[in-house]
Amino acid sequence: MNQERGLTLIAKTVTRISVWLIILYGIYIILHGHLSPGGGFAGGVVIALAFLNVMLTFGHETVTRWLNIDFLHDLEPASGAMYLAVGILGIAISGSFLANFLSKGTLFNLVSSGNILVLNIIIGIKVAMGLFTVVWTLAVFRLYEGGEE
């Protein structure tokens, strides 16, 4: 571990443990979007902030090595296209855009209420990747003075 970049040793040790808990909390908020407040957007923001936490504590080169940045840059428009694919499946199966075509299940179960669970997961991925891409681009640009468009 390098002592020059990032915050102190205490912050790094605590982050190593707590970042996985933050990601777990974000996934919980996304998956229970139809049962309690939250949903796709709030959970996506929490996951993006978990990655931002690692970037603040360790420096942005460590994050570039830890995550596969090109894959994340491609995952964001892919999840947007999947959202539209769910909508078009609604046209093909049930007649209207974004119509429900999965079963609604029983009340208060985790796997219930049809389309909403799938759409929450897709939105959660898109928001997390999008927000993290914005923050990562702003952080990387500052260092390479005269960055690209």
Binding site: P77, A78, A81, S96, N100
Partner: protein, 490 residues
Amino acid sequence: MILPFFIIIPLLAAFLIAMISGNRDYWAIIVSVLTMISLAVLALFNFGTIGGKTIVYEMGAWKIPYTICLTVDAFSAFMLVIISVIGLTSLMFSIYYIKHRSPSWKYYALFMLLITGMNGVVVTGDLFNLFVFMEIALFAAYALVSYGSHAEEFEAAFKYAIMGSISSTLVLVGIAVIYSATSTLTMAIIAERLPQNLKVMYWSGGLFLAAFGLKAAIMPFHAWLPDAHSSAPAPISSMLSGVLIKALGIYVLIRLFYNVYGAPPIFLTIFMVLGSISIIVASFLAIGQWDFKRLLAYSSISQVGFILLGIGIGTPLAIFGAVFHILNHAIFKSLLFYNAGTVEMVLGTRDLRKMGNLTHILPYTTTTSMIATLSVAGIPPFSGFFSKLIIIIAAIAAGYPVYGGIAIVGSLLTLVYFMKVQRYGFHGEKIIEMEDIKIGWGMRAAMIVLAVLCLATSILIIPGIKEFTLDPVVDAIINKTGYITRVLGR
């Protein structure tokens, strides 16, 4: 049945371009050209078959008070045709132009998002959905204005973004006020429940007039337009000035103040006053400009003043003139911005004092700019003459001779500053000779198509064709509370 495809097709194209493009941009060009051609075909087919009826599409298989509905009547179909055709020519122009400036796939993805936003604003029937699509289009516009990465583009984009965010906040406050009074967001049901509540109508009408007036660049709210439209790259200037200020500003003003509020006379008087101020003051400001694109931007403010004057008068003849002027202004202003972009690319400057006689090196550009100038100044048989004449006759026939006189003075001033452009910019004193001018065939094709359309749209006035194309549009606007019956069926 085809209504959601106006939104799905460009949005899917934007995501596909972002996914499959590596470092080169030829996949982006192919996908975006295919998308725009299919959108243009869909829009023309829709306008041809819509006649006088209204198509209502409910999303998600829910019923009307609980869902977001998409409604298309003749006016929406008309705007869709304008957006798709001008977008197609802009894309053809920008293939070579962007490759010359700074090639990247991000331009095409942002362009597709701009088309998505504008299509969504025109197609939707729900008030908050309109706000969301307006924001999508504005995001893409802010990013595209600053595309070339010069210093003045960033400043113009920042000014545009700050003023746009003020107007978006005002729209939200207006939506909050309307929702608290009527507890619904569908525009047809708001039109049903609102007339009992005059205070809410005036309060939210004032907020919406300020907010959407800023998007349409009416005179007190115009300050962002000269910077943004002169610093943007030329195809984006033509999209912004030709289509965006009409799809996001004028269309929403007509939809709200005629179909939802039922055209209360105090708002129509405000429209007339603001329109005439726009015509006169913007023309005077345009005469003193030496920057080519800045002059064209002030001219846009002036022509939008004409449209607003026509809307404010309120008789069917005036609305016919205003709607026809929307079409004409989109065509000739886009053509003028393409000319300015070609001249800037070849000569490297926008200053009129540094240009000279360009007839030898740029023959197509000079000819098409002369056609566009004759059309904008109102010379028969070009289309601009008919639309301005109809607005002036409607003003005098409705009993407002002062406003008719203001419109005539505005027409004369338009002729003055466009003659300045022709004299200094294209037929100046010194003859400029340059070797190996390379203009892409797409740029020439876009300019020639628009110049032909300048002449061809004047056949829409002939009484046989008028009933088929433009009369249903006027009927959809003038029949105010008929909107409720056509959408809800009761």
